[in-house]
């Protein structure tokens, strides 16, 4: 099946089986390994990307669903090597430890901030409720997002 879609501002047209997962398209076909697989069933959020301005678990999205869509991954946050404000805030606030949940957390946070400015702490925690982290206990991640909101 031929599908046309955009990732991080670039146009792609590829021929893939219709049920191939978006996470596999990103990681294997496009070489964008920033998006991680932690559970393969939409529970951990390490595969979170933004599709048409909404955060999605890319392990639950299949090829036929991404036709004509604009996808943003962690690789698309920085522009010309200049870090996005969220990325800088994560570093500054100590919100990064092992780094495995980080891409997914950033994308969930980015989706929230694209939708609303000045979210409350509860709204921030809600937006990342589907992103599990085993290292940080979430506090510094929440603070990092608050700093930019």
């Amino acid at each position: 099946m031929f599908i046309k879609f955009k990732v991080n501002g670039d146009d792609y047209e590829i021929d893939v089986p219709p049920a191939i997962r978006l996470i596999d398209i990103l990681r294997d076909h496009l070489g964008l390994t920033g998006t991680k697989e932690g559970c393969g069933e939409g529970e951990c959020g390490t595969c979170t990307v933004i599709m048409d301005s909404k955060s999605v678990n890319s392990c639950l999205v299949i090829a036929s669903q991404i036709r004509g869509k604009e996808i943003l991954t962690v690789e698309g946050l920085a522009e010309d090597g200049k870090l996005d404000a969220l990325q800088e805030s994560f570093i500054r606030n100590g919100a990064v430890q092992c780094g495995y949940c980080t891409p997914g957390m950033l994308m969930a946070a980015k989706a929230l901030l694209m939708e609303r400015s000045d979210p409350t702490e509860d709204e921030i925690r809600g937006a990342i409720s589907g992103n599990l982290c085993r290292c940080t206990g979430y506090s510094k991640i929440v603070q990092a997002i608050k700093d930019v909101a």
Binding site: C39, C44, T46, L77, Q87, I128, S129, R134, T136, S139
Partner: protein, 748 residues
């Protein structure tokens, strides 16, 4: 006071991590590589009668199917770090011919694509002769005729005693409690992943998400009959470990397959495989009996533990022993005895998990302390103050000094900051549906392995001509900021900006020897090695400068990347000048290799205070307030110390309330997915206040002590004590889930 120590820095590769640039093992691609997929046992106990892989082998893209039929039958221990290590029962094969738990390694397919490998697995037909599944320790001990391993189901037992039994006063009381701790999934966000490449020169290279490259190298070389110099283990970036990646679980399998095929082979586990087929925190059951004076002084303590090792021994003998060595670090008890039976069962294999026996015994003990407090009507904080160790006390288990043990200070300052007395005496409002309560727990952990295991680390620091440095140590960054901490220590001594020092990570071909990231040894031992090595490099710099400046060494000082005469400060050289002139004019290289021997093992302490609100209608528990107080000696990187404490509390709340790898009667894992294995997420995580006590006094770098495990140990019992206080219950069957709470409330 310090330029670098005590200031917060991000992890060294934070920028790469936020850019998504870090290549973890599962992200790796090598030219000509192949993909492996596992076939794991669906039954808990049985003999493999036949494996028919003919249909799988015919599938286009399949290169080979491996099983016990075409792999070594040599038994090994995946826990071993050093040659001839004791307590390493060799009871595993790369692929088994007898399955001993649901998840045991039956076969693997190696194919040109991952999808083909997955498809091929479904085409392999295995016939088993089912054997009775012994899924609890009690069943395994009772059924002597059903042997999980030929040696019998009792893997090991011990009976340790320390101290002297004192005569008991007439009005002493005896308290007995029993606590069950559950199998827990480490739940690192990154599932285990490896890339092995056996090349035509006869050398094996393996990238592994592991905590100790030299241990992996030793096991692989010995198992595959390669010399140690021909096995190169490179630590891949780790997406969390918490002990779950400290044993060579799948490295032997991947290495063997690559060696057989002479091509790179990648194995990346999925979540279910990580939950079931790697290792779990061990399930234990401990009965604690104390004799306590009316004043609350514990006179004697007897513990009996049943330890579930799961299907294979791995670290369980040492892990079981470790449980006996924790309480004496925390409380001053005249007589302590600990009997333990370590038992094979047909369940997922137990292994070391953050705290390494600490959570498993301290949770029961802290729950026990609250039972003592209740019986004697003594405040739980006050009871602990009367029994905790003091600075300079000796650990009865090892006869080593506990060093500057500040646990009483942690407890007392924490009680004040938490307003303990006011909140504890508030009691619970019986008529209210929502019941609030507070709880406290203390813990001790260690700093390294001195006293039970060889303890040393070697590092090399070399100076580049431009005045920058490379610190080469066998370091394993697991996400807690090890590389940064080591860099900060060296930067402090050498007095250069942090970015002038590159700290390398573990690679058996290039790194000097170090045992790995275990036993809370890295800051205390590797950190002090870095400090001493840097001091020696500084000496060398001054020596070289002395030659260049034709000035006695005693007249020179180094500061801010420069060497200058103390009496004529304008006479100076930059580090760059010293390094370049030394190398190119005086033919001297500034490079130092140094081995540091640990000679002490003080306690690392923490006191945690939790407030919970229990909905007595549903049994749901919310942690509403939390304070963690830690005796860390010195916080090298305070923000990361806080980060470790926050993460530890997340794990502890899960251990107390939610997380369990439940096993069915037939040995199947019920919680084999994040759908039903719940770890605390952001909305359910309380804000954790942290108070650090930095009183120094021990041998660590700048007097620092460990934190990552010490902070995990008190968290679960603090929460459990809070909920028992809120409800007036004595729940101790962990995790304390809503159904158990409701059952207890209905009983009352």
């Amino acid at each position: 006071m310090f330029k670098h120590i005590g200031h917060t820095h991000p992890v060294h590769d934070a920028t790469q991590k936020v850019m998504g640039e870090v290549i973890y093992a599962s992200d790796m691609k090598l030219h000509n590589m192949l993909y492996a997929k596992l076939l794991l046992s669906p039954i808990a106990h049985g003999r493999i009668l036949s494996i028919d892989s003919s249909r799988a082998e015919k599938l286009p893209g399949v290169v080979k199917v491996f099983s016990h039929l075409n792999s070594p039958d040599k038994l090994y221990s995946r826990y071993r770090i050093i040659p001839d290590q004791v307590n390493c029962r060799e009871d595993e094969r790369i692929f088994t011919d007898k399955v001993r738990f649901v998840g045991d390694r039956v076969a693997a397919v190696v194919a040109r694509s991952f999808d083909v490998a997955v498809k091929a697995i479904s085409l392999i037909h295995v016939q088993y002769e089912k054997l009775p599944a012994l899924v609890t320790v009690e069943q395994a001990l009772e059924n002597k005729s059903v042997k999980i391993h030929a040696s019998g189901n009792l893997l090991y037992e011990y009976d340790l005693k320390y101290g002297e039994k004192e005569p008991l006063s007439e009005d002493h009381i005896t308290i007995e409690t029993t606590t069950q701790t559950q199998k827990m999934h480490h739940a690192a966000m990154e599932n285990h992943a490896y890339m092995a490449n056996f090349d035509s020169s006869g050398k094996l290279t393996i990238w592994s998400s592991c905590q100790g490259v030299y241990g992996v190298r030793t096991i692989l070389a010995d198992l595959l009959n390669l010399t140690y110099n021909n096995v190169r283990v490179i630590k891949a970036p780790i997406g969390g470990s918490f002990g779950g990646k400290q044993e060579a679980i799948f490295e032997p399998l991947v290495a063997f397959m690559s060696k057989d095929l002479r091509r790179p082979v990648k194995l990346a586990l999925n979540r279910e495989e990580a939950i079931v087929a790697t290792m779990t925190r061990p399930a234990t059951k401990s009965t604690i009996t104390t004799a306590v004076s009316k004043y609350g002084k514990i006179k004697s303590c007897d513990v009996a533990t049943l330890f579930d090792a799961g299907g294979y021994a791995t670290s369980s003998i040492d892990n079981g022993y470790a449980m006996a060595k924790k309480i004496s670090r925390l409380y001053s008890i005249p007589y302590y005895s600990h009997k333990c039976k370590i038992v094979y069962t047909n369940t997922p294999v137990a292994g070391g998990a953050r705290g390494w026996g600490g959570p498993e015994i301290v949770a029961p003990f802290e729950i026990h302390m609250d039972a003592v407090a209740k019986a004697l009507e003594i405040d739980p904080v006050e009871l602990r103050v009367r029994n905790l160790v003091h600075p300079g006390d000796v650990d009865k288990a090892t006869n080593f000094s506990l060093g500057n043990a500040r646990i009483i200070e942690c407890l007392q300052r924490g009680a004040e900051a938490f307003q303990w007395t006011k909140r504890y005496s508030r009691g619970c409002v019986n008529s209210s549906r929502y019941k609030k309560g507070v709880g406290v727990a203390c813990a001790a952990h260690k700093n390294g392995m001195y006293g039970g295991f060889p303890e040393h680390s070697t590092m090399t620091i070399k100076m580049n001509e431009d005045g920058s440095f490379i610190l080469n140590g066998c370091l394993h960054e697991v996400g807690c900021g090890t590389i940064t901490s080591i860099g900060l220590i060296a930067a402090e001594v050498l007095d250069v900006p942090l970015d002038m020092i590159t700290v390398s990570e573990a690679d058996t071909e290039n790194s000097p020897y170090d045992f790995g990231s275990y036993g809370s040894r890295v800051t205390y031992i590797c950190g002090e090695c870095a400090r001493q090595t840097a001091e020696r490099v500084k000496d060398r710099i001054l020596e070289c400068a002395s030659t260049i400046m034709q000035t006695p060494r005693e007249y020179l000082s180094a500061e801010d990347g420069c060497v200058f005469r103390i009496d004529r400060e304008q006479e100076r050289l930059t580090y760059r000048e010293v390094a370049t002139i030394a190398k190119t004019v005086n033919n001297r290289d500034i490079v130092v290799t140094h081995t540091y021997h640990g000679r002490s093992n003080p306690g690392a302490y923490g006191a945690h205070f939790a407030e919970v609100e229990v909905d007595s209608g549903t049994g749901m528990v919310k942690v509403t307030d939390y304070l963690a107080v830690h005796d860390v000696g010195r916080a090298i990187n305070p923000g990361m110390v806080e980060g470790q404490i926050h993460g530890s509390v997340q794990m502890g709340i899960g251990y107390a309330l939610y997380e369990e790898i439940k096993i069915s009667g037939s040995g199947k894992v019920i919680d084999n997915s994040f759908k039903n294995y719940h770890i605390v997420n952001a909305p359910d995580m309380p804000n954790v206040r942290v108070l650090l006590i930095e009183a120094g006094g021990d041998d660590g770098p700048f007097e620092a002590k460990s934190i990552g495990e010490a902070a995990t140990i008190p968290s679960a019992p603090a929460v459990i004590n809070a909920l028992n206080s809120a409800l007036g219950t004595s729940l101790s069957d962990m995790p304390i889930t809503p159904d158990k709470i409701l059952a207890a409330l209905n009983c009352n």
